[in-house]
Symmetry: C2
Subunit: 117 residues, 2 copies
């Protein structure tokens, strides 16, 4: 019987050494090293989180806020370093979601098919 | 470089074969095999999920609902098979949380300490 913690640390190491994580790390450091890119990215992230929190709390999001959010997205997408960072994040998200599905399979089988989220 | 998917499947196997998961499986099957315990447990779960959804959506939870929920909890805690199932669930949750912290460490290090949730 393999130890769960040993397996978890092996997986952590595999994630850390993966091309996907290394690509994200480099993209993140590139953005963080450029003051104007850093500020733009952080504004974008803050706007995203604020809108998500409102949505989760069932608060109404005004047309103005939607417009403002769209503008911020358009702005960051035009910045090659930031759009690269977002692509790298997306890649790693796919990987982490796959991993999460794999390791929660025993629970899913036990409790039945999960409801659509 | 270890493959992430291989490591994830190893971890899944370790979870599936663990004492914690096997204990949960047995506790779950015991409750499901007893019609009245099954109904009681499912009522409890439904009440919990409804309250959680209300809370997440920022809806007010009435005093009556809180009282009702407390009664349902007291009821299930008195049922040995159900309280055993809840303990086994708690045990596996601790394990899964630990695993989750371990494998998200690279991301946490990259993005800095996570905000308190
Ligand atoms: Ca289900
Ligand atoms: Ca932070």
């Amino acid at each position: 019987m393999t130890n769960i913690y040993d397996s978890a640390y092996d997986l952590e190491k595999a994630i850390r050494e993966s091309e996907e994580f290394q690509g994200l790390k480099q993209a993140y450091e590139t953005v963080m090293a450029d003051e104007s890119a850093k500020t733009m990215f952080e504004n974008f992230r803050t706007t995203q989180i604020e809108l998500q929190e409102k949505q989760m709390q069932g608060q109404e999001i005004s047309e103005e806020e939607v417009e403002q959010a769209k503008k911020v997205v358009e702005l960051v997408q035009q910045h090659p370093d930031i759009s690269n960072l977002m692509e790298q994040e997306q890649r790693l998200n796919v990987l982490i979601n796959d991993v999460s599905k794999i390791i929660t399979k025993p629970l899913e089988e036990l409790y039945g098919a999960p409801e659509e989220q």
